[in-house]
């Protein structure tokens, strides 16, 4: 491990804050090897995204506008909401084009080991949307792992008494893999094959 450059160390530390990277010096060196223009373009993109992109006050998805494009698109089905853990999951389902309704981003999943309980998820705003907007169906598309399943169970127990139809994305998804990595066809099929829970 090098000890010389404090600024390189700073870059490694900053990259280590991102999920799935850790203290990856190779990535830092890769950035070092970029031309000045390329590197500044990257820094600029990060800067711009933080200036422009915020969260939709309706569905909690990331967006440059508020409400977001999806929430303000009248051609989408207005009475059906697909509930996902993160914005990246919503993007994956949207890309699959099997789904034409609205989204709701929970901003996480139940995980007591990480100190995350129901109060830490955007559930209250989901309940408001169901109450105020004549929602007829909720599709729960949390990830097919232990935490995602627990979140789905919690939500369905909470939502069913409200008289809304609750379905769970079918389990055709590869076990243990997260939604983000499932291919478009799998996702489309899974959404078509959703089941009542």
């Amino acid at each position: 491990m090098f000890k010389s450059a404090g600024s390189v160390e700073r870059l490694v530390n900053q990259l280590a804050r991102l999920p799935g990277i850790g203290r990856n010096t190779r990535l830092a060196f890769h950035i070092l090897k970029l031309s000045k223009e390329e590197a500044f373009e990257l820094a600029d993109a990060i800067h711009e995204v933080k200036e422009k992109v915020g969260f939709c006050s309706v569905c909690n998805n990331i967006s440059e506008t508020d409400p977001c494009q999806t929430c303000s698109d009248p051609s989408r089905q207005q009475d059906i909401i697909c509930v996902v853990e993160d914005s990246s999951d919503a993007a994956a389902i949207d890309k699959a084009e099997g789904f034409k309704g609205l989204f709701h981003v929970l901003d996480g999943r139940l995980s007591p080991l990480d100190g995350i309980g129901p109060d830490d998820l955007k559930i209250k705003s989901l309940l408001e949307r169901i109450k105020n907007n004549n929602i007829s169906e909720i599709i729960i598309a949390t990830n097919p792992n232990v935490e995602g399943e627990a979140t789905a169970i919690y939500l369905s127990r909470l939502l069913k008494p409200m008289g809304v139809k609750v379905t769970r994305i079918a389990r055709g998804l590869p076990v243990g893999s997260d939604l983000e990595y499932a291919d478009a066809v799998t996702l489309t099929r899974a959404l078509e094959g959703r089941q009542d829970i």
């Binding site: 139940l110 007591p112 309980g117 129901p118 627990a150 169970i153 076990v175």
Partner: protein
């Protein structure tokens, strides 16, 4: 399947060792502390990615080194010769490869199979309940990938539920999952124990010269024996959890589920844990492992490697010979002995004399 050769680096008292094996019986003989048991352990780690003696990989590294590596060539009828390696470096993660391609531990269980019998096995009868559960898990997972997957998820669910109880987060969704996964674990365990029940009693009867060994599955969820439909078990689980809900909140841990399962042994109708002798425990464990070996042969349609550590200490010549005869024409066998290998072992076998972590002679 059989192990054609092995190469060991920095594992226990071996700094470096390379040898070929015989496709049938291989006898390691040498004094206590020579390393013959460590050689069996290395073969087990190569096949299943973990030690049967120690949960920690750091402990099995040679004291002068900071990593161990075990490589081997395994021959299977279907796949031919495959090269397998298991390596661990202090502070790092275990690395397993098959034909140079990284492999997960679960895939080792799918590809290979090994049964080990050793002196510490008496703990299966006399030790704490976790030893009995580990025994079931290691061997059941060798023929059911489904069980292994369910077990891994069950442990995640359990950890989440316990965290919820400690942090006063609503544990209900995790309790529901615990029931779903717990029920399939219990069903698989019932089937497994049913499969080895008669054979275990049979071997014990044969080796002990007429004594009776029985065991009974005692899950933490009470249900009547014989009443084992999936729904019955689920209902019993639910009501048992409901009864314990308040207590779980107080003690802040999960009190009900297969992580608390028990297995009771009795010899001639007396509880073996209280009334059995060390010798009886070892014979009981040997009978269990023999039954498991034959179950795995049947389920996997291959011969698991059979590793027998110091089993002749318990057996007189006649019983030892009849036991060995029951392995004639089966798979590959590795056994250790402190004394010179008995005459009856000499047919169809290769003998390795081991001293201070080295093979000094092959006969």
């Amino acid at each position: 399947m059989y192990l054609k050769s092995i190469k060991i680096s920095n594992f226990r008292n071996f700094t470096s060792l390379r040898t070929d094996f015989y496709p049938r019986t291989n006898v390691f003989f040498g004094q206590n502390g020579s390393g013959k048991t460590n050689l069996l352990e290395a073969i087990f780690v190569l096949c299943l990615g973990r030690s049967h003696r120690s949960a920690s990989d750091a402990i099995i590294i040679n004291q002068d080194a900071n990593f161990y590596r075990i490589e081997g060539e395994i021959v299977k009828k279907s796949e031919g010769v495959q090269s397998l390696s298991v390596a661990f470096e202090k502070g790092g993660r275990k690395k397993i490869t098959l034909n140079k391609v990284p492999l997960k531990v679960a895939e080792l269980y799918k590809n290979f199979s090994a049964v080990i019998v050793n002196p510490e096995d008496s703990n299966i009868i006399s030790g704490p309940p976790s030893v009995r559960r580990t025994f079931i898990d290691i061997y059941l997972a060798q023929y059911s990938q489904d069980y292994l997957r369910t077990l891994v998820d069950y442990q995640k669910i359990l950890a989440q539920k316990n965290a919820a109880l400690k942090k006063e987060i609503d544990p209900t969704p995790f309790s529901e999952l615990l029931i779903e996964y717990g029920v399939s674990i219990m069903i698989k365990r019932i089937e497994f124990l049913e499969e080895i029940k008669d054979a275990t009693s049979g071997y014990y009867h044969q080796i002990s010269g007429g004594d009776d060994l029985c065991f009974q599955y005692k899950p933490s969820v009470n249900f009547n024996e014989g009443m084992v439909s999936k729904n019955d078990i689920k209902e019993a689980f639910e009501s048992c959890l409901a009864k314990n809900r308040e207590r779980e909140k107080i003690v802040k841990t999960s009190l009900v589920g297969p992580h608390r399962d028990e297995l009771y042994f009795s010899i001639n109708n007396l509880p073996a844990r209280e009334f059995g002798s060390q010798g009886e425990w070892r014979t009981a464990a040997l009978s269990l492992k023999m039954a498991v070996y034959h179950l795995l042969r049947r389920k996997r349609k291959l011969n698991p490697l059979l590793l027998l550590d110091e089993i002749f200490a318990e057996l007189d010549q006649k019983r030892a010979e009849s036991l060995m005869q029951s392995f004639d024409n089966l798979g590959q066998l590795f056994l250790t002995t402190a004394v010179k290998p008995p005459e009856f072992l000499k047919r169809d076998s290769r003998n390795y004399q081991i001293e201070k972590g080295k093979i000094i002679d092959i006969i």
